[in-house]
């Protein structure tokens, strides 16, 4: 039908499958996100550690390259659980900054411009709306976390051989689950804040505050009470513990420096909160975020 035919006509063509419609939101959102050259540049920078990781894996298995660089293989980092955990943590911090830039306006701008009724008056549910907004973050963050990490894991397996792959398959699971935790929790938090606060700057500030203020407060509690239980209010500490648990590097007893006596640190052994407590706290945070989203993502707020 040509554009000059100005009459009202019903649409009789085929429709897209219902399950795929939430993906319309990320497709349109990416156009806006990558319109900013600054963000695009930052997103490219996010891949630099992965490049370093790939070079390190390559060097480990390439004698000629080591010879040219005059580097001994023992001087390089070992490719093990700690190696992958380090890079998962590094990428997680980049993911947090991407969330900080992309997440806060996602729901807030729809709320500010009363756009929610336009979404929800269509065959499009609130769940699909939230899934669509979440997938904006999840797709972006996956592209810089677990997807390249798993590709590098496969690269390492290809270099090392099938035996290494079978022995370390659990590492692939750890990479995936740990990365998902590092992207799901900030993504959920940013969407929940975005649904509460209509202004982007305030929403970004709130997200930053939620990560750093409880961490500082938790550390103060740890120092005063000579414990590690203050960490249960620190999201980053919780996620760190869970990640360490997944990679098998979690230690419950840690050394706590209580002070200095004649230049020598006095230390005591303290216990980290158990892993199940960390998991529980993260589930609790996720549940609160989902409850907030369910309450706020509505076509119209009913004033009772």
């Amino acid at each position: 039908m040509a554009v000059y035919e100005v009459t009202y006509k019903p649409y009789l063509g085929k429709l897209t499958p219902e399950w795929s419609r939430f993906l319309v939101i990320p497709r349109h959102a990416f156009r806006d996100v990558f319109k900013s050259k600054l963000f695009t540049a930052f997103f490219v920078i996010c891949f630099i550690p992965l490049l370093v990781e790939a070079i390190l894996i390559y060097l480990h298995h390439n004698v000629n390259a080591l010879g040219i660089l005059k580097v001994n293989v023992r001087e390089l980092l070992p490719i093990d659980a700690s190696f992958f955990r380090t890079f998962v943590g590094l990428q997680a911090s980049f993911a947090f900054f991407v969330t900080l830039l992309v997440g806060p306006p996602l729901v807030a701008k729809d709320l500010r411009n009363n756009a929610l009724p336009l979404f929800l008056c269509r065959p499009f549910t609130r769940t699909e709306y939230v899934a669509g907004k979440m997938s904006v973050l999840l797709i972006l963050l996956s592209a810089i976390t677990w997807v390249p990490q798993l590709l590098l894991f496969c690269f390492q397996a290809q270099q090392e051989g099938a035996g290494w792959f079978v022995d370390n398959l659990w590492l692939a699971g750890a990479i995936f689950i740990a990365s998902m935790i590092w992207i799901l929790i900030p993504a959920l938090l940013s969407l929940a804040i975005s649904s509460l606060v209509k202004w982007r700057v305030i929403a970004s500030g709130a997200l930053l505050g939620l990560f750093f203020i409880p961490s500082v407060f938790g550390e103060v509690v740890n120092q005063i009470m000579q414990t590690r239980w203050g960490s249960i209010i620190s999201l980053s500490a919780l996620m760190n513990n869970v990640t360490a648990g997944l990679f098998g590097t979690f230690e419950r007893s840690t050394i706590h420096i209580t002070g200095f006596d004649k230049g020598v640190a006095t230390r005591i052994m303290v216990s980290e909160p158990p892993l199940w407590v960390c998991w529980f706290m993260l589930f609790l945070v996720s549940a609160v975020c989902l409850a907030l989203l369910s309450r706020k993502v509505k076509a119209y707020e009913v004033v009772r």
Binding site: Y4, G13, R112, P117, F119, R122, V302
Partner: protein, 327 residues
Amino acid sequence: MALAATIQEQATLRDPAKFAPVIDLNDLSVTFGGRPILQSLQGELRGRAIGLLGPNGAGKTTLIHTLLGFHSPSSGTAQIFGKDIRTDAKEIRSLIGYMPERDSYIAKMSAVRFVRLMAELSGLPPEAALERAHEALFYVGLGEARYRSLDTYSLGMKQLAKLAQAIVHGPRLIFLDEPTNGLDPPARQRMIRLVREIRDSGKANIVLSSHLLRDVEECCEEILILKDGRLAVYCNLEEERKSNRKFLLLETRGDQEKFVGAIGALGCEYAVTGDHRVKIVLQGGTEVKDLYRVAAQYDVQIRRLSYKRDSLEDIFLKAMENGHGSL
């Protein structure tokens, strides 16, 4: 058999009473925080263009929102094209277009992208959505401005963009909530013309909610008046206008003074509006034949007798006074 079916189809088309109801209200009630907003709405709405009228707070917007599935009914239900709003909400929304009352758009987005996004959310594939978005924007008169950001649009243009997103997926039923709000006279005329065009195309039914009686009068064939959350009147506008058989306009020849005096003596109200013209409101048991009897008695000729048609304002005010449903 085929001929019989065709005849039956044509008969159905001619007789609006045989149309399946567009909206079927079954004792629909909505309560917010214990406060009843809509109370036991009952009736079958069948018109091509239905005007939703009522004073502020009567429940017009709540009714539209409930039919769209934004609010759950506290009791009763409603059906749109035979589908229940409680159980088939998603299916119903695929048949509906909605133009909200308030300013609603997506910031920093061109009109064509905005309308395309809305079409895609309704299930149109990307290419078809883009094509329909261009068409819809041309149709509403925003063709030349379709690449401009919505933030830069005037109020009138935003209203038209809202209409474009409501019709882009070709819905069978379009809810227009105060479509002429804040429009200047030419923009209002344009909006009314578009609504009438869609109505006359016969491809979509329209529910137009407005507190501007003139808008409803110009666009709608049927009206539903709400008062305090209850159905005050649902009627065909043309039939309701004709239904007032008490207000007469007479043109007479002869001794008008004696004639109107005798009419007054019958208990009727009257007003002489010209040399030979008189307006009469029949009261009590007085009938038209009594007027002829009195005219004959005083040798007055009744040259013309017509019934005054109620304006929508008359119907509305009557509904506000009586407040009983007349379905």
